[in-house]
Amino acid sequence: METLLGIDYPTWWFLVVGALFSGYAILDGFDFGAGAWHMFFRKNTSRETALKAIDPTWHGNEVWLVIGGGTLFAGFPVFYGTLFSAMYTPFILFLLFIIFRGISIKFRNMEDMLWWRRLWDWSYSISSIMLAFLLGVVLGNILNGMPLDQNYEYVGRGFFEFLNPFSILVGVTSLALFMMHGAIYLLLKTEGKLFDRIQGFLKKGMAFFIIAYIITTGYGFLYLDHLLVVFEENKVLFIVPLLVFLSIANVPRLASKKKYGWAFIFTSITISLLLVIVAFELYPRLLMSNPSIENSITIYNAAASIKTLKIMMGFVAIGGPLVLLYSYFVYRTFWGKVKHNQTGY
């Protein structure tokens, strides 16, 4: 198989898609986290400030979902078709919550009525919580594996099969992770009394995440042996979980020193590293067929043609830096604390 720098194209594409979804989790992750905390703010002004913290940038963050979806569709069409049809219900719910999250932010401040604002506050917060949870649920199902036939079609049935113990645990853990991450982002954008309150939230968020993470990892150790194989075979890879441990431990340490900028970097690194672990656990599989393992979807049987992957590599090489440049420019424009009296549009 053709390679680039000694790595074959499907593997490159695996890395590209992984990097994009990792970027999406980091960026929209703090939006979801901020949204999950939203109803914990009592005052209207606090809620407005919290919304203003993400308002100019969340659209740009959502782009990563669209690009991630497109690159997955183009690069691994077999996986795309199977995963989305197998996870029909959670994905449809995900889409509906994406709609509600977006319009809640847009519409909330267009009317002054109290009930109007309450309604959109709830809609925004519930959507954010459900989006974080559902992303984790889908990831949990991917790690779990699912029954596939020889055409890589899902053969499971039923509305609620996507809700199994492990996927629920992963869902709760990703919610907790994003809540920790989102609280830190809000700390970077707020000041005064609100800032003090969010410091309290962050403590709860860190505890929530660490507990959820320990339970989920423990459950994985006990019941999902297939995920551990790669680490047993290559002992050196244990460095990744070790790095995750250090990275997570660093967050409370930095938070106690009020170095929230650094803490944000380390929650971001934690998100990436957790996805690196997922990548090692899966590679070269994308979706394990369970029980008939020979029907598993791998990066090789799911990949588009090498020609397509090469073209797409070109897209990413040209477009990737552009996307980063736009993001840099927008974040620079809106850098710093939100001032409450600022008007939007």
Partner: protein, 458 residues
């Protein structure tokens, strides 16, 4: 109902709903760029006020367009998994390119457009407005390329058989510039300009009639009218060019559009009519040999009819395709007539004196929207029974693992949510339009700074 019909309804419903918004965003975006550019050139306050006002409206249409658009991207995977596997190389590439090269640009710049008025220099803000507009134009490029490939596949080969068959790219640029891409892209762009400009004309005509923001509205109306007139005329050419392309590349669709059944005979052109598929007859008002003339500049040249195709390859809904196509064309003609008439009245200095004309503009905002919908319904229903013309049938493209009750569940959810969304859209548009442009200067005030007034009237 089975999975197939439910999935078809869901896709048609969600995509038709989605398509209310992006054309408005593109069309309003164009005029927004014009107003803001004029503001920077002339420094006249009224252009700034207009640019800001239409940016507010734009924010609503863009927001709904984005969230309903994400639904479309993922629906290919959820409901049309076989299709996704079959076309991932090609269709997926176009969607990915849309995300990377278009959507990223518009969505990032949107933050600056909406929230950056006081944060960046005016020219930087103008760059952001341009970026949002161009991003939405580029979005249309990749989406239309993807859809055009479904209509007129090119630059590919088929690998594998049965359930494992897939189309792979052989020649990327042949895929991008497939036979219908350019015609359909220009047609879509102009359709979007018409949707946006006629909404703007409608709102400002309404203000003039109500005696509010009259000075601003007259300015805005004239500028927008020029764009609308050019776009409606140009649409005639892209439409004609598209139809010629359909005649060559998708003869079964063209035959359905005109209700032409005979295998090979001179074809008529109907101004309006009704197709009876059983008797293979069309009753209505026609130009005998008109279609032959349109395509070959000769009333006698034979045109391939529906009978030339096996029953299973003919579009099943001939009358629907016929009606949608004819309604679209009729609206297009009306828009040309209306905008030219208005230009003529302008020249005579009577543009704003005819109330009925202004009222006509108020209601005409709906027509380009309808024409866009009808055009797409004609294009997509005319392509049936194929999802990829000549290669993959829609009925074979479904997700095999999804069950009817799941799709019924999601369809009901989409109906409910989109219904609410539509009500909100109407409510908020109405509110924004009622409250009108925001300005500390009353442009209609007689004591308005004379110098400004003089510059304006020049």
């Amino acid at each position: 109902m089975d999975v197939e019909i439910l999935s078809r309804i869901q896709f048609a419903f969600t995509v038709a709903f989605h398509y209310i918004y992006p054309p408005l965003s593109i069309g309003i975006g164009l005029i927004m760029v014009v107003f803001e550019s004029m503001y920077l050139r002339t420094k006249l306050k009224e252009y700034e006020v207009l640019a800001k006002f239409w940016t507010k409206i734009f924010a609503i249409t863009f927001g709904i367009g984005v969230v309903t658009g994400i639904v479309m991207e993922f629906e290919f995977g959820t409901n049309w998994a076989t299709y996704s596997r079959y076309v991932g190389d090609i269709f997926g590439s176009a969607l990915a390119a849309e995300g990377i090269f278009a959507f990223a640009l518009e969505s990032s710049a949107l933050g600056v457009l909406l929230f950056g008025w006081n944060r960046v220099k005016p020219w930087v803000h103008l760059v952001a407005t341009w970026a949002v507009f161009l991003g939405s134009m580029f979005s249309a490029v990749w989406i239309v390329v993807a859809n055009s490939w479904q209509q007129t596949p090119a630059g590919y080969h088929i690998v594998g058989e049965g359930m494992q068959a897939r189309a792979e790219i052989v020649d990327f640029w042949a895929m991008v510039f497939n036979p219908s891409s350019v015609d359909r892209l220009t047609h879509v762009w102009l359709g979007a300009f018409l949707a946006g400009t006629f909404l703007i004309l409608s709102v400002h005509a309404y203000y003039i009639l109500k005696g509010r923001f009259v000075f601003l509205s007259k300015k805005a109306f004239k500028i927008t009218l020029i764009v609308a007139a050019v776009a409606s005329l140009a649409q005639l050419f892209t439409g004609h060019s598209s139809a010629e392309g359909v005649a060559v590349n998708q003869p079964a669709k063209l035959a359905a559009m005109e209700g032409h059944f005979e295998k090979s005979a001179p074809a008529d052109l109907y101004l309006l009519g009704w197709v009876n598929k059983e008797n293979k007859e069309v009753s209505g008002l026609k130009v005998p040999g008109g279609l032959s003339f349109m395509l070959h500049q000769d009333f006698e040249t034979p045109v391939t009819g529906l009978d030339a195709f096996p029953k299973e390859d003919q579009p099943p809904q001939v009358n629907a395709v016929f009606q949608f196509y004819h309604l679209m064309v009729a609206i297009g003609m009306f828009l040309i007539a209306l905008s030219l008439f208005a230009l003529w009245q302008w020249k005579r200095g009577k543009l704003f004196q005819k109330k009925w004309l202004l009222w006509t503009f108020v209601f005409t905002a709906l027509l380009p929207q309808l024409a866009n919908q009808f055009g797409w319904f004609a294009a997509e229903m005319g392509r049936q029974p194929w999802v990829v013309y000549g290669l993959l049938r829609t009925s074979d493209a479904l997700s095999k693992s999804v069950q009817a009750n799941q799709v019924l569940f999601s369809l009901i959810l989409f109906f409910v949510v989109y219904f609410v969304l539509f009500l909100l859209f109407i409510y908020l548009m109405n509110k924004k339009i009622k409250s009108g442009p925001d300005s500390d200067i009353n442009f209609d005030d007689g004591s308005l700074n004379k110098e400004i007034a003089e510059v304006v009237t020049k």
